[in-house]
Symmetry: C2
Subunit: 235 residues, 2 copies
């Protein structure tokens, strides 16, 4: 019998790849998606499609309105930065940072994992392209794992030793894409854009699109996701 | 100008006292309450009343339906244990334990604190009466604090060093009550019962009522909160 794992699934490229890696390691997948008031709600529909394609055992979407706190371009009504180079993105912490987002997500994944008696949690964080996000770094993931093993009934009673898997943490975007393609991820189902149009087509200019398109170019592939007409989808 | 602090406010006796201690230390209070699908929703109304009495600057209630995970008497449809002695409660982890609850609550408090540029978070956990809850122990709180300081933009950039205050962690229930009375907490506004009647009157028999009543007795006080007729509210 395969072991259960909770996978945080956002609908983006990274979490889809992280989930595919979990599946390739023989885990039975329990997907957790968070509806946190993000502006790009197409993400959640993408998470559903990606989960179906990956054959997840169960898919839970939790609603939690982080807009009550304010202060992020991803949830509040401020402009998403456009047309920045990868170098510009890497200087400082982006304004699209959501306060304590991965901590909130991992905490919810921990509660779900404990309920399922699942010792393994997968998160698609990446310290290469998202060097500006403190909660994407290995030292953060390790500190969360240590805390998690002090936090729960299952770990304290010795029934579960939690492991937070961050299989993408040291990969470049091109490496992530190549790994996902090997594992059969359909990137046409994933969505990364911070500012898609009403049809769901990506803008091609926000930080997430810029990183994604550069990754496909470096991997020598064409991104199968939809972009607005005129967007340079490199090949 | 007083410094802001995020206080987790449940409507119970402990969190009201923790908040009053924060106020006595000169903090400006930003209350965070969680509507997590708990059966005793009177808690949330109590949190509102307690916050008003304490003069909080702002009160936010976040909804997050932890029932999606199942598995706790406090959120699911299973029986709340009744008429257990304090000794019985102290053996093992209670079934009223909510998976990763304090981790979820502290994570949300962290996000709120970062948004407010508040370095201080108060939580009313207690390791004496709740020895069965792993996420009420000092070593857990320390591990969370360490993780929090690796998790956020504000801490990584050196603008905030987060402190998780758990001022009740080593106090008995009677000591908590005496401290709260000194600080002017109106315990008549607080609610602890896991199984109140529709009017909000406490059952007097669940673990929370048993601990609370024993604490008032030991402090030589009468609990001003409403109980069902016939309940032994010791004096």
């Amino acid at each position: 019998m395969s072991k259960p794992a909770v996978i945080l699934l956002s609908g983006g490229l990274d979490s889809a790849t992280s989930a595919a890696i979990a599946r390739s390691q023989g885990f039975e997948l329990y997907a957790l998606s968070l509806d946190y008031g993000q502006r790009h709600r197409g993400e959640l529909e993408a998470a559903q499609r990606v989960g179906e394609q990956l054959g997840v055992k169960r898919q839970v979407t939790l609603q939690i309105d982080l807009r009550a706190f304010g202060a992020s371009a991803l949830t509040a009504d401020i402009d998403v930065p456009k047309s920045r180079s990868v170098e510009q993105m890497h200087s400082g912490i982006p304004i699209t940072y959501v306060p304590a987002r991965n901590t909130v997500f991992l905490s919810l994944a921990l509660g779900y994992a404990e309920t399922l008696s699942a010792a393994d949690i997968f998160i698609g964080v990446n310290a290469v392209d998202y060097s500006g996000y403190p909660d994407c770094r290995p030292e953060y993931i390790e500190a969360f794992e240590r805390m998690a093993n002090l936090a729960t009934k299952a770990s304290v009673e010795g029934r579960l030793k939690f492991t937070i898997h961050a299989p993408l943490v040291a990969l470049t975007k091109a490496e992530i894409i190549r790994r996902g393609v090997e594992l059969g991820v359909d990137y046409g189902l994933t969505r990364s854009c911070y500012d898609p149009d009403p049809s769901g087509a990506a803008c091609g200019a926000c930080d997430a699109c810029t990183l994604r398109l550069a990754g496909f170019t470096e991997a020598g592939l064409v991104d199968p996701a939809p972009y607005r007409p005129g967007t340079m989808n490199h090949s």
